[in-house]
Amino acid sequence: MTIKEAAAILDAEVLTCEDRLDQEIRTLCGSDMMSEVLAFTQEGTFLLTGLCNPQVMRTAEMMDLMCVVFVRGKKPTEEMLEMAREEGLVILATRTGMYNACGKLFVAGAGSGCI
């Protein structure tokens, strides 16, 4: 599954790096705790989170994540989007909640889960 396909499943808005949507998703993670993301995810992971602050962008930068989806209607600030653009990080935003978003991607066979 590509990021583009995942965005369609989640009815998500693409907020950055529209030219990087063809990347294949391999591993996924749903978490609001950045300490756990740092401990348990791999580089290139597709992250779903309801946490919306600049530390999510820093975590994504340190872990070389592929994409961050803000769930349950959370919207990042322009400062956060700028941080994402600098790293080539795709940012999506969806109104879907965490459980449903993870479930929809899981059922569609998106990839394997980290945590």
Binding site: D32, M33, M34, L38, A39, E43, Q55, M62
Partner: protein, 140 residues
């Protein structure tokens, strides 16, 4: 250390928004030097966890990075409250973080274990009421 490139940084007190700036700058420099990406990632995770800890627990501090062809050494020094029980602090899941920090996505108690996991050697020197110095080394 002979022929070491020394980088010195300040981590600012209470500025959670800025936490990670030092780690980000170091990561960019290591990339420019051609350090392997896997190694950069390990260093970045360890540094970032350490940097965030300094803001959350210790009112900021100083970070020194020494780079040689063989190794990267990171020294994180603060004058915060110190660590009362290092063994407990090293347990995954144990945290003394305030609730407001957990609301920011940290304080899960994974910081120190993560730092140890991603480095080849880690040493903690601490005095309660005076401060903590954590030294980490990653072989290149």
């Amino acid at each position: 250390m002979e022929d070491a490139l020394i980088l010195e940084y300040k981590v600012h007190d209470g500025e959670f928004q800025r936490a990670g700036e030092v780690s980000s700058d170091l990561k960019k420099k290591l990339k420019a030097m051609g350090v392997p990406m896997d190694t950069i990632r390990k260093i970045s995770i360890a540094m970032y966890e350490g940097e965030v800890n300094m803001v959350i627990h210790a009112n900021g501090g100083d970070i020194t990075v020494e780079i040689t062809p063989e190794m990267i050494k990171m020294i994180l020094a603060d004058v915060g409250p110190g660590i009362e029980d290092i063994d407990k602090a090293m347990q995954a899941g144990y945290s003394t973080a305030r609730d407001e920090i957990r609301n920011l996505g940290f304080g899960a108690g994974m910081g120190l274990p993560n730092m140890k996991k991603n480095t080849d050697r880690m040493n903690i020197e601490t005095v309660v009421g005076q401060g903590t110095t954590i030294t980490m080394e990653v072989d290149l």
